[in-house]
Each structure stands twice: as structure tokens, then as C-alpha cells.
């Protein structure tokens, strides 16, 4: 046994360090400042950190383009195109969430720097996940991401549902993490390493005589990921937690967690266990069908929009899993494109729900939206665009995202699977369109209150709508970027 100190390539770690650094700076500032820190100051720090991360990602991208993908810190962290795109996705989702949180905090009387600090810490975990090349680093990222969100789920002390959601999320999240790390331990026992490249190398050069350990470990890893991305049958926590958490936090759960967990899942399955493709594909096959169908069918019965969006996000997770199922570069690019574009759209959707929910997060019945698009065409119209994008309507980015994963699935010989996914999207369309019909309904009471749209939240909604429409009409560059990123995937 020997231990050598690894060399560190700081460019690879820069985004994680920036976001963590911002969290630390904000904590220290709020502790040292003579008066409570103004929310605008916290927002400025978060936005500055996000901008810095995007700039760093651009530098990383040009480095990767010139020098190729590299690993650092004893191969535990990877710098490749895939990680860079994931970094940008997390930074954008964080920036938009911070804008929504800013207005929400003023309305819900949740002041203080804790929400921005925890949001930053969670995002740093997600950033670590997208560039993790070691099962233990994936676990660390997962935990950093989750621990922040457990607290954020319960941050609204004026409402008992919030602390209830925090406890549920915490207990099931802890369970999932324990299962995940046990899976990592078993894979370590079977292959002699927790490093993804080393696992891939070992499996590529050895015949595993007794694969039971490896299969059990891989299955446990999948269960752990399944919990985190809310894949059926590990989804039961998600509607309750989505409903109970403060709405902007729910937006973060639906965006940042999905980005981090799915990109880590792609890396673990395709990069480390790529040689075992024939073993894990049938499992994912079943997961995709269950996730797509259950998400769409149970979504039909929901009257609470946050629960509806929870099932909608389960259905979307099925599509993201579809790209992973292919195990191909095209599928990975499809999943990457999907999470990259889904994140801003879903944050903006929850931003509208935050505004419409009113003080205390109470008005989340779908009937509360009756005639919204007629009273407030801009806000209602934005929500319609965001819903159509999640539905996958043409001319929105959701259409192209679904198209990318479905065409990759067909190319990998999953015709039946693609058909099931497509049918589930058609069923899901029913609840999205029902919501749209409610929005444009004429029979609303005239005395319904107008929903105030503060500037910061309005900006976040506008950004989400812009992503949905601009890249819906003109998806080429982003799609090419996602594909290019996957080509730089570490072999």
C-alpha cells in the first residue's frame, strides 16, 4: 500500500471552487456584516459567481478543444466537453433560480443569506457530479447537492408542509445515498477500483469470472441514481417533496438535481460500465417504460399544479433515461441536450407557479389559473410556451430534445421503446393541454386578483421562454454543441 500526492490541474476544478468560494464568501460576509446582508447583495454575489463559471467554462472549452480531454487529481476529476456543457447548464439553472428566490424571499419573509448560500453549495455538488470520474467523487457531489437541498426544502418556517417535505426528502435521500455508496463498495470489490476509467480498463481487459458482485454493485448504483432522478419505481417521494418545498426550491430540484444526476449516470454507465452494456440495458429498458408511463398516467389525476409538475418531471426523466439506455454517443448527446434545455424551462415554469401561488405558497390548485392568460396575456402566454415546450410541441425546444433522444433510440434498435415513450408523451400532453385550456378559459370570475410580476422573477421567466422559443426555432448550434461535447467524452 502506498499513497502518493496527486497533482492538481486547477482549471478543471475552477468552476467548483468558484461556486464554493462564493458560498464561503457569502457566509463570512453575512456573519461579519454589522447589519443583515441585503438580499440584493446576496443575489449579486450568486449572479457574479454564475457569470464567472460560464466564462471559466468557455476557457475550459477552448482548452479541451486544443488539448483534448484530461483527468486530474489522480484521475478522480475529468475535464472534457461533456463536463463543460454540464457546468454551463448548472450555472444557468442556478442563476435563474437565484433570481426567483430573490423575489420569493421578500414575499415569504425568508431573509438572510442562508438560501443563496445553500443554493450555491448544492450547485457546487452538481458541478462536482458532472465532472466526477470516481464513484466516491460522484457520491461526494451527490451528497453536497442533496444536503443543501434537504435544508432548502424546509427553509420556509411559516408553513408546516415545508419541514415535512424536508424530513421526507432527507430520509429517502439518505436511504438512496447509502444504497448508492454500498453499490460503489461492491463494484470496488469486484474491480479493484472506484475510479471510472480504471473500472472500464479492468472490465475491458479481464473476464469477470464471478460477476455477481459486479452486478449487485451496478444494480445498487442504479437504484441510488433512480431515487435521485425520481425514476419509477423510486419516485414516491417526489410529488410530496415537490408540493411541500418552497416553489423556487422545487424548481432547483427539478433542474440542478436532474443535470447533475443524469450526467453522472451517463458517465458511470457509458464510461465505466460500457462493456457491460448488455447487462444494464434491459434494466434501463424496464425503468424507461415504467418512468414514462407512470409519470404520464398519474399526472392526469392531479389537481395541484406542483404535484402535476412533479409527475411531469418524472415523465421527462423517462425521456432523459431513454438517451442513457442507448449507450451510444448520440444518446448521450441527446440526454445532454435534454437536460441542458429542460433546466431553464422548468425553472421558469416553477417561477410562474411561485408568482401565482401567492403569499404562503397556498394557491396551487389548477382552478386558480382559470383565465390567467386572458387577464395577463404576457404571464399566461409565457406559461403556455413553457408548458408546450415540456409537452414537446414543434417550434419549442422540447420538441427537438425529444426528437434527439428518440432518434438515438431508433438508431440503437429500440423501436418499441421509442413508441412507448412517444405514447406516454401523448398521454402527458393531455394534462399539459388541460392546463393550457384552463389558462385561456373565458368563464373566469372578473374579480380574480392580478398576479404581480416582480422584475427579477420576470427576467427569469423571460429567459426560460427565450430558451424554449429561440432554440426551438433554431436548435442547430446547441445541438451541435452537445454532440461535439460528447465526441470529447473520455474514452
Amino acid at each position: 500500500m502506498s499513497l502518493t500526492i496527486p497533482s492538481i490541474h486547477y482549471l478543471a476544478l475552477l468552476p467548483v471552487l468558484t461556486i464554493f468560494g462564493a458560498a464561503v464568501v457569502l457566509t463570512v460576509l453575512s456573519a461579519l456584516a454589522p447589519r443583515p446582508l441585503r438580499p440584493a447583495a446576496s443575489l449579486a454575489v450568486v449572479l457574479a459567481a454564475c457569470v464567472a463559471v460560464v466564462v471559466e467554462a468557455a476557457v475550459q472549452w477552448s482548452y479541451v478543444a486544443d488539448h483534448g480531454a484530461t483527468t486530474t487529481v489522480a484521475h478522480a476529476v475529468v475535464l472534457d466537453g461533456f463536463a463543460v456543457v454540464g457546468t454551463v447548464a448548472v450555472a444557468v439553472a442556478l442563476a435563474l433560480s437565484a433570481l426567483v428566490v430573490y423575489d420569493w424571499g421578500a414575499r415569504a419573509s425568508v431573509f438572510g443569506a442562508e438560501v443563496p448560500v445553500l443554493a450555491l453549495a448544492s450547485s457546487a455538488g452538481a458541478l462536482l457530479m458532472v465532472q466526477a470520474n470516481d464513484l466516491v467523487v460522484v457520491f461526494l457531489g451527490l451528497e453536497t447537492l442533496s444536503l443543501g437541498l434537504y435544508v432548502l426544502a424546509g427553509v420556509d418556517r411559516h408553513r408546516s408542509g415545508s419541514s415535512e417535505a424536508a424530513l421526507k426528502y432527507f430520509l429517502l435521500g439518505g436511504f438512496a445515498s447509502a444504497i448508492f455508496i454500498y453499490g460503489a463498495a461492491l463494484v470496488y470489490g469486484a474491480t479493484g477500483s472506484t475510479n471510472l476509467s480504471a473500472i472500464a480498463y479492468f472490465l475491458g481487459t479481464n473476464v469477470v469470472l464471478r460477476p455477481g458482485l459486479l452486478y449487485a454493485g451496478g444494480a445498487l448504483l442504479l437504484v441510488g441514481f433512480g431515487f435521485k432522478v425520481a425514476a419509477v419505481p423510486f419516485h414516491q417521494w417526489s410529488p410530496d417533496v415537490y408540493q411541500g418545498s418552497p416553489t423556487p426550491v422545487t424548481g432547483m430540484m427539478a433542474s440542478i438535481v436532474k443535470v447533475g444526476a443524469f450526467l453522472a449516470l451517463v458517465r458511470v454507465l457509458v464510461s465505466a460500465l460500457g462493456t457491460q452494456l448488455d447487462t444494464w440495458r434491459p434494466i434501463l429498458y424496464a425503468l424507461v417504460i415504467a418512468t414514462c408511463v407512470v409519470g404520464a398516467v398519474l399526472g392526469l389525476a392531479q389537481r395541484d399544479v406542483k404535484r402535476l409538475l412533479a409527475y411531469s418531471s418524472i415523465n421527462q426523466a423517462g425521456f432523459m433515461l431513454l438517451g442513457v439506455w442507448t449507450g451510444s454517443a448520440a444518446g448521450a448527446a441527446g440526454t445532454l441536450f435534454y437536460v441542458l434545455t429542460y433546466a431553464p424551462v422548468v425553472v421558469a415554469t416553477f417561477a410562474v407557479v411561485t408568482l401565482a401561488g401567492g403569499v404562503g405558497d397556498t394557491r396551487h390548485s389548477i382552478d386558480g389559473y382559470r383565465g390567467l392568460a386572458r387577464r395577463q396575456p404576457w404571464l399566461g402566454g409565457a406559461l403556455i410556451v413553457l408548458l408546450l415546450s415540456q409537452l414537446g410541441a414543434p417550434l419549442t425546444v422540447g420538441f427537438y430534445a425529444k426528437y434527439a433522444v428518440l432518434s438515438a433510440t431508433l438508431a440503437s434498435g429500440g423501436g418499441a421503446l421509442a413508441l412507448v415513450a412517444l405514447l406516454s408523451a401523448a398521454v402527458a400532453a393531455a394534462f399539459y393541454l388541460r392546463w393550457v385550456m384552463v389558462l385561456v378559459a373565458e368563464d373566469a370570475e372578473d374579480d380574480a386578483e392580478r398576479v404581480a410580476v416582480p422584475r427579477a422573477t420576470g427576467l427569469a421567466i423571460l429567459a426560460g421562454v427565450a430558451v424554449a422559443l429561440v432554440f426551438g426555432v433554431w436548435p442547430g448550434p446547441v445541438a451541435a454543441w452537445a454532440q461535439h461535447a460528447t465526441l470529447l467524452f473520455l474514452p
Binding site: L140, L147, G154, A165, Y182
Partner: protein, 101 residues
């Protein structure tokens, strides 16, 4: 006396199983929380056993990460349990039924 490595692995699996069973059947948040910790410690035992059989220090190093994460989980988890207890004067998850689904 030399105890075979497999025994440790079986012990760890049994501990993990007890933890998972307890988490799914017990109704007190604190006990459920202890079950999670038990599961994480079973993982540690597995890591150490494999590190020993593989003569690889990586597994032992992983244990430290798991321990730190478990400690962080304790901090956050107890905070949440206390927050819930203050509001409801109970830590039973059966009374957390505000949301149905």
C-alpha cells in the same frame, strides 16, 4: 486466528439489510435516521474488507469520505428532525400526513 474476509462481507451485508429493513418499517424519524447511519457503517466495513483483500489503500481512503458525509448528514438531519419536532411535538412520520399522494 484468521477470520475469512467473506465473513466480514456477510456481516456488512446483514448490517446493511437490518438498516434498510428498519428504515422501511420503523415510524420514528430518529430511528429511521439511525438506520441510515447503520447502512453507511456497513458500507465502511465493506470498503475496509475489500481494501484488505485487494491490498489497495483506495478502499480505506473511501471510508474517510463516507465518515465525513455521514457526519454532515447527522448535522443536517438532526436539525431537520428538531425543526419538525418543535412544530409538531412528535417525530413519528405517521403524523406527517399533510400531503397525500
Amino acid at each position: 486466528m484468521n477470520v475469512p474476509a467473506a465473513w466480514y462481507l456477510v456481516l456488512a451485508a446483514v448490517l446493511f439489510g437490518i438498516g434498510a429493513y428498519g428504515l422501511l418499517t420503523r415510524r420514528s424519524a430518529l430511528i429511521m435516521f439511525m438506520c441510515v447511519e447503520l447502512m453507511l457503517n456497513a458500507v465502511n466495513l465493506t470498503f475496509v474488507t475489500f481494501a484488505r483483500t485487494l491490498s489497495d489503500i483506495g478502499g480505506q481512503a473511501s471510508v474517510f469520505f463516507v465518515m465525513v458525509v455521514a457526519a454532515a448528514e447527522v448535522t443536517v438531519g438532526l436539525g431537520i428532525v428538531v425543526a419538525v419536532f418543535r412544530r409538531r411535538h412528535s417525530t413519528s412520520v405517521d403524523e406527517l400526513n399533510e400531503m397525500k399522494g
